[in-house]
Amino acid sequence: MNLFSEAGTLGTRMRKLVLFLLTTIIFVIPSAAQTDWIRTGTGLGVEKVRIAVPDFKTSSTDPPNAELLKTFNDTLFNDLTYAGIFDVVSKSFYPLQIPGTPQEIQLEPWGNPPPNAAMVAFGNFGKSGDDVAMQGWLFDVKNIASPQVLGKQYREKATTENARVIAHRFANEIIFRLGGGIPGIAESKIAFISARTGHKEVWMMDYDGAGQTQLTKLGSISLSPRISPDNGRVAFTTFARGGVDLAMYSLELGRTVTFPRFAGTNVSPAWSADGTKLAFSSSMRGDPEIFIADANGANPKRVTANKGGNVSPVWNPKTGTQIAFVSGRSGLPQIYTMESDGTNLQQVTDGGYAVSPSWSPNGQFLAFAWRRKYGPGAPGGQDIYVMDIASKQWVQLTHDSGVNDFPSWSPDGRHIVFESTRSAGTQIWTMLADGSQQRQLTNSGHNQQPNWSFK
């Protein structure tokens, strides 16, 4: 018995090692091509910058702003913790003297153990009249002569929402500066489907799960929301129009807008990165095939012609000319890629049940849901995988934790949002693109099919 569990531990260790090696192969070698990641040394799988983020000092005691200050501090700390490029120093290691301005900071206690920080983000935040104002700095602790890397100030109407917005903006500045010039995602959005009202409606939330807001009120079944690249519209599928149809919600107008109704079943819309085209699955001419139409639904053209469902197209956001999609043409659904005119078809997965592709912003990877071994009693579950398209090497990101589906890449390519049944009901989770830092964003009712905005 004891021996057995020892062997199990060893097996787990071996698996972890293999996983680590695969992660290294896939994420470090390709990122070597991006010279800025190497120069700053902050890419995934590369040494992370050790940063201290002491609570910002209040800049006014009258009127009181403890609640706004706490919202700001929590949001900034979480943004940097989950950015994927930092090793955020635990607050318990911080020196007792917390700086609110550059005049107040002593660099040595921050650079020495225990904090041992390379960077410190600090500042002050407070109400002034109807507004809240923030002053924030980023200091390079080891550069005694000229430590300031960044100095920023923001001012907005004093609301909880704005305390969060200001924290997101400052976090994005720090991430942009220390993360190889890739813009932060703290102001990005996630569209999703929630059944918490009793009907499946389209909802939207901030990237960290805050501000969950219902968009549609159709009282029917709505599915597969996809945010347009300019953040102006959400394309989705709905049962509310009599069949199973595409529909369009305008975020600017705050309502659904006209969109043509096609014959047959029309599902899984996908925006091209330039926002001019929609790919989707339609059985308007018989079998479910991939179609491409203009963004307003005009001129639908069929690009596949194979019996067996063809569905869930996604565009390569880098080239704008390739499409990955799911097809059941050879039995259980597999993932394929093709040019957007239907040529150069390639099968990407080689077995099991593979669905829900999402194309990484740099065009290099596909994330998808895969049940690799299929059949009665087969081991393993439905998990999220990432594949390097050129080499077809893949990494498994979720393990032994419910049914996982609908991965969607963040705009910076460092994060993946997905749905999972591992906790109560189906909920939305995020993780870094190496599978670490998995955290739950929703908990009310059932929530599914997350889609991360383009920016």
């Binding site: 009202t197 259980l332 739950q440 099919q449």
Partner: protein, 248 residues
């Protein structure tokens, strides 16, 4: 006596303390979990009716269970205990919707009791005129079932469709909606296309058996409206279905 009992309990306490200390020593420092504090658990709800088909005037037993719910209602019945059962005698086919609300959200579940007309009296009479088209439809146009990830019509499904086509020829004015349903496994989007293909396969077979295509509409439900919500093959088979509805 008293002293001895006391020293015994001292001994027990100190042993426990030592054990805890040792256990503590052995424990490796666990990595700090990245997960946020656990959210309030979402409520769960299930409801069933036994039997789920009665003749008019008959009674059926509703049984429901919920967890993590503070406010539980059944539409048409009212506020009820979190877990319980109740006898009902609906006069027509009724869906009982159980709504469980709690701090973690809302969950609902539905049980349907189909009320059928009583059998015709022994005296031979022509088909009862009181029977609605829907009742006739439920009795005569039977659902068909599919294998996993398949829209091929099995031999049993082909027989049922042949009988359905004969029945439909007796009511040439009735329109039919064929719904394609799938089990809970696999992706929401892929299952929508699978349900579409199931409904289309049934429509093609009905047309081949002489039912005019213009009478038949199809609609996929993917895995959105299961007939049965448990995990397991018995339930999944119920959900891999072509379901017929009288369409006006």
């Amino acid at each position: 006596m008293n002293v001895s009992a006391q020293s015994k309990s001292y001994f027990a306490v100190s042993t426990l303390a030592i054990l805890l200390f040792i256990a503590g020593c052995h424990k490796k420092a666990a990595p700090t979990p990245a997960a946020p504090p656990p959210p309030p658990p979402a409520p769960t709800a299930s409801i069933s009716a036994s039997p789920n088909a009665v003749e008019r005037g008959g009674t059926s037993q509703l049984t429901w269970r919920t967890e993590n719910a503070t406010d539980v209602t059944i539409e048409g019945v009212g506020k009820v205990d979190p877990n319980g059962s109740k006898e009902v005698n609906p006069t027509e086919s009724t869906s009982y919707r159980l709504v469980a609300k709690g701090p973690g959200g809302q969950q609902d579940a539905t049980a349907r009791i189909t009320v059928t007309a009583p059998p015709p009296p022994p005296v031979a009479t022509p088909a009862p005129v009181s029977m609605t088209d829907e009742q006739w439809f439920t009795q005569n146009v039977k659902d068909v079932f599919f294998d996993y990830d398949s829209y091929q019509l099995r031999p049993d499904a082909q027989q049922i469709i042949a009988a359905d086509a004969r029945a439909l020829s007796q009511k040439p004015n009735l329109r039919v909606l064929v719904q394609g349903h799938c089990d809970e496994r696999g992706s929401t989007e892929y299952n929508l296309t699978l349900g579409d293909e199931r409904a289309a396969a049934i429509k093609n077979a009905l047309v081949a058996a002489g039912v005019p295509a213009s009478r038949i509409d199809t609609r996929t439900f993917g895995k959105e409206q299961p007939f049965c919500t448990e995990s397991g093959e018995a339930c999944w088979q119920q959900n891999r279905r072509g379901h017929f509805v009288a369409n006006r």
